[in-house]
């Protein structure tokens, strides 16, 4: 075992499941037949792109004990090695997703007490919980993990879920074999974002900025106080505040802050905060702001570019017989679209290293969007770096991840063609030396459809707002593959119950999203709901633009399928 593992190794037990240790236990009989035969593999004569910018070379890779044991033209293949013919295959280092939420659950929020004051909420109600560690809420569902593994993501930087601005601290896990201990590093970044809990303080970006400054300042004071208390008699007892203590590693520059943004003004705000206190910063969700290049360079902040690319309906639009003005406006929209796609190219040109993050991106679109950026000028080298070496560096794991080198972890992505070609498919993925194989040659996953939950039927839903809980009925129909539905709710204008059609119904795997309109005093507000279905239960959140989100849960009585 390497020293590294000895330092950061954490055993992870899936509740109730017999835990496998990768090392130190001895094999037993397995009537399920799930256990692998050997942990040693030889990938022969594959085209290896060991690192971004390295020349492609034909080589054979030996994987043993979870590590890349050898790479060479003609290494001795161990006797216990399972061979994978790599003749037409391409091998890359496994991808690292810097903003993953696979398998992360939101912590439950305790019930509000009777005299709850929304202007002075205790931190736990308003999502100021930086002390929450994401690993305590992590339980990777194999289906989800596999979707991401299939697109080449072998290492996950897990972001805590929840409401509010400081959901918790991150951790790094391998997207590996279920039941194995996959935690790579439990000391992650402090995760911050511009998100609020409806009706509670802080309620807007203004409040978040002020709150951040106050917490940070108080953390510095608290640290000073604790030092004083520890070293002297007669000092007033230092109260231990978990929120402030979570900031100590940030203040000591041991741990960076991962600040999530959604537009260029947010980026400027965050860089401004960094300038005030000098903490190490990773900015994630960067999706615009070519004008920010000089500021970013000066700040030494690390950048994670969002792969959430805008849809191209506007870009593809052609309006017949349009006036010059309309055409000019459309031109601007198209330019904006292209600028968005060229953002990464721009950063590369200016010498700003970046990683990619998957926030708001579905696994099916992960590689697709990266290829779109490469089409728009991003070099393959920079794209690969953003998937491998750059995130490895940002996480402090460059010694064991990021390239195909002897001695590093056996995290590999093996594709049928050069990764950035549209036709390339992921055939094999190694995570931690475990092999995962996937069907290729354009075979769509028909099997997924059978596993799909039946969404149709009548769902009783409940949503919790500061005014109390409100409930209603949601009915979903499926006609010829097209979903439609209606939802009832209490009329905000007071006259009983109203009903609205569901629109924009999107179903993908377990996720169900839809929208509906509520009319109040002549204004029509578009409410969106998004969440996950499992069986007859639905859990998600209801979002009103500009106001925030509240929880939304629904359940279906089993006999109500339509």
């Amino acid at each position: 075992m390497t020293k590294f593992y000895k330092q950061t190794f954490l055993s992870f037990t899936v509740a109730g499941v017999f835990s496998f240790f990768s090392y130190g236990t001895f094999a037993q009989s397995d009537p399920t037949g799930e256990r692998r035969v050997t942990g040693t593999y030889a990938i022969t004569n594959a085209t290896v792109l060991a690192a971004p910018g390295a020349a492609a070379r034909t080589a054979t890779i030996i994987v043993k004990n979870g590590l890349i044991d050898q790479i060479g033209n003609n290494p001795t293949i161990p006797l216990d090695a399972q061979t994978i013919k790599g003749d037409s295959l391409f091998v890359y280092a496994g991808f690292i997703d810097l903003t993953s939420t696979v398998g992360v659950a939101a912590p439950s929020i305790p019930e509000r007490p009777a005299n709850f004051d929304p202007s002075r909420p205790a931190p736990v109600y308003v999502g100021i919980t930086p002390q929450y560690e994401v690993l305590n809420y992590f339980d990777a569902l194999e289906e989800d993990a596999d979707k991401w593994r299939k697109t080449g993501v072998t290492t996950l930087h897990l972001l805590p879920k929840g409401e509010g601005m400081l959901p918790g601290t991150t951790a790094v896990v391998l997207n590996g074999q279920k039941g194995a201990s996959n935690v790579l590093s439990s000391s992650g970044s402090l995760y911050v974002r511009f998100q609020t809990v409806r009706g509670l303080s802080p309620g807007t970006t203004l409040g978040i900025m002020a709150k951040w400054r106050e917490i940070y300042q108080n953390a510095e004071l608290s640290a000073k106080h604790q030092t004083l208390f520890a070293g002297n008699n007669g000092v007033v007892r230092a109260e231990k505040d978990p929120v402030l203590e979570a900031f100590f590693p940030v203040i000591n520059r041991q741990v960076p802050v991962l600040f999530e943004v959604s537009n260029e003004l947010d980026i400027r705000r965050v860089l401004g905060l960094q300038k005030e206190k000098g903490f190490n910063l990773i900015v994630s969700g960067v999706n615009e702001g070519s004008s920010l290049v000089p500021v970013l360079k000066a700040s030494k902040a690390q950048v994670v570019i969002s792969l959430d690319v805008p849809d191209d309906n506007a870009f593809k639009k052609e309006i017949k017989e349009a006036s010059e003005e309309v055409n000019d406006n459309l031109e601007r929209v198209k330019e904006a679209y292209l600028a968005r796609l060229a953002l990464a190219t721009n950063f590369e040109k200016e010498g700003i290293p970046f990683a990619f993050g998957s926030t708001n991106v579905k696994s099916e679109d992960f590689l697709k969007n990266i290829r779109l950026m490469v089409e728009n000028g991003l070099s393959e080298e920079a794209a690969l770096a953003a998937l491998t070496t750059n995130p490895a560096g940002m996480l402090g794991l460059e010694r064991v991840l990021g390239t195909v080198e002897k001695g590093k972890l056996a995290n590999l992505v093996i594709t049928t063609d050069s990764l950035f070609k549209k036709t390339a498919e992921v055939k094999h993925v190694f995570v931690d030396g475990y092999l995962f194989q996937y069907e290729t040659n354009g075979e769509s996953n028909e099997s997924d459809k059978s596993k799909k939950n039946d969404l149709t039927g009548a769902w009783d839903y409940e949503t919790v707002t500061p005014q109390g809980s409100s409930s209603g009925l949601m009915t979903i129909k499926n006609e010829d593959g097209k979903y439609s539905g209606t939802i009832t709710f209490d009329d905000p204008e007071g006259s009983g119950s109203k009903s609205a059609d569901l629109s924009n119904i999107k179903v993908s795997g377990k996720t169900l999203e839809f929208q509906f309109n509520v009319d109040v005093q002549g204004m029509s507000i578009s409410v969106s709901v998004s969440g996950e279905v499992s069986g007859n239960e639905y859990e998600g959140k209801l979002t009103i633009p500009d106001f925030g989100s509240v929880p939304f849960t629904a359940s279906k009585s089993p006999d109500s399928n339509i």
Partner: protein, 432 residues
């Protein structure tokens, strides 16, 4: 005894003109009728040439004579040397009288429940004693079109003169049924509907309107054949529109909607007036071709689109006028209808010109609303609804000196003026 009486009456009549300025402590000045002679004024007739050193004789609520060189010894004389006389301004679209304090729902009387309520009468909901009415009329705006709003057919609008204690006193002989044409555009940044959704909703609305119209056509046919029909007040009112007895005031603003509205009006052969028309300049030719009159405003508005020129709303009336459209200007306000002349002033500055802008708030709305035989200009036989100012009424530096509505001299006072008089020099001041 008789001679003393005569002298007393003469004395009172001669000093009567002094009583028209402001208020004497404790006494309430009321609107007063009678015979008035305005002398030595510059009379801006609007429809004919301006008369220098002109005189106007007001009697029995009418303009009895306009010209130079005549006298009337039995009339109250107002010396208008250095002053200008204009026809009373007409604001062809607002909520004056239909709401008192906008944030207090109990005082809002311009909107009813339901999409189809053309039978709702704005005229009877008007509060003749609204505090805003005296505030408005001292600016020279004498006549106003009260508009219901909300739903598809919110109600029947009515033209009122801003003097009187009952709706009968105030009614100025025009009514029209308001229609809110379905909007096919995104309503502001909060409207997150997709293109398809907006299209569907618009189609649904239009379908609903066509169904209503068809029913109204049937109702009108049967009713005019003297059939005995069940009580159906909404259809009764719509039938009047179908028959052409009442015009339709079609509220429509986005360019695409205006085009759709024009097509619809032509297909139904309805007598219509387009109101709002914020993006009229984009389709001015089509409006002109359709020969539909337009009541647009407020001119002091933000441009409809973020990509629009900053002066899009200011230049809108002028652009439509140049294309050959008949354009009247409105404020669409409630408590600040008095800003009508300033809306017209901006329209004048941004392309319309002073003359046309003045017409747009006098004779043009009168013509559009079919009351041009009584209002809108200073001509013999028309109502004595006019005002006297010491300059161009569009300029803020001008003071309005007198206002006449239907031959009544209006007290030049209101709550704002009374507060001014009380507090200009407060007593006690800083110390008790």
């Amino acid at each position: 005894m008789n001679t003393i009486k005569i002298y007393l009456i003469l004395f009172l009549l001669c000093t009567g003109s002094f009583f028209s300025y402001g208020q004497i402590e404790g006494e309430v000045i009321k609107p007063r009728g009678g015979k008035f002679l305005l002398k030595n004024a510059t009379v801006v007739t609007v429809t004919k040439d301006t008369i220098q050193n002109g005189s106007i004789l007001i009697n029995n609520g009418k303009i009895e004579a306009v010209g130079t060189d005549f006298d009337a010894s039995d009339a109250v004389t107002i010396d208008c040397s250095g002053l200008f006389v204009f026809p009373g301004m007409i604001d062809a679209g607002n909520q004056l009288g239909l709401v008192e304090v906008n944030s207090v729902a109990e005082t809002q009387d311009f909107a009813e429940i339901g999409d189809l309520s053309p039978n709702m009468q704005a005229l009877t909901a008007i509060n003749p004693n609204s505090v805003a009415i005296p505030v408005t009329r001292v600016s020279g705006v004498t006549t106003s079109l009260a508009l219901p709003s909300g739903g598809i057919f919110p109600g029947t609008a009515a033209l009122i003169n801003l003097n009187g204690y009952t709706s009968e006193h105030m009614y100025a002989e025009f009514k029209g049924v308001v229609m809110n044409f379905p909007s096919s555009v995104r309503r502001g940044a909060y409207d997150r509907r997709t293109e398809e959704e907006i299209k569907k909703e618009t189609e649904k609305s239009l379908k609903q309107i066509n169904e209503i119209w068809e029913k109204a056509v049937v109702y009108q046919k049967l009713d005019s054949a003297n059939a005995e029909l069940d009580y159906y007040p909404e259809m009764e009112q719509m039938a009047k529109v179908v028959a052409g007895e009442l015009p339709l005031l079609v509220e429509v603003n986005a360019a695409a909607d205006i085009e759709a509205a024009i097509k619809w009006v032509e297909s139904k052969k309805a007598k219509a007036i387009l109101t709002g028309v914020a993006e009229g300049w984009r389709v001015a030719d089509k409006i002109a071709q359709a020969k539909l009159p337009v009541i647009t405003g407020p001119v002091l508005s933000l441009p409809a689109r973020q990509s629009d020129r900053y002066d899009a709303a200011y230049t809108n009336p002028a652009k439509m006028l140049k294309a050959g459209v008949k354009v009247a200007i409105r404020t669409n306000d409630a408590e600040n209808v008095r800003n009508l002349p300033f809306n017209a002033g901006f329209a004048a500055a941004y392309g319309m010109g002073k003359e046309e802008a003045l017409k747009a708030v006098t004779i043009v709305p009168a013509e559009i609303l079919g009351v041009a035989d009584r209002l809108g200009s200073i001509e013999e036989g028309k109502n004595a609804t006019l005002f006297i100012a010491d300059g161009d009424p569009f300029e803020t530096s001008t003071q309005i000196k007198h206002v006449f509505i239907d031959g009544y001299q209006i007290p030049m006072t209101n709550r704002h003026i009374r507060l001014y008089q009380e507090f200009l020099e407060r007593s006690p001041g800083l110390e008790r």
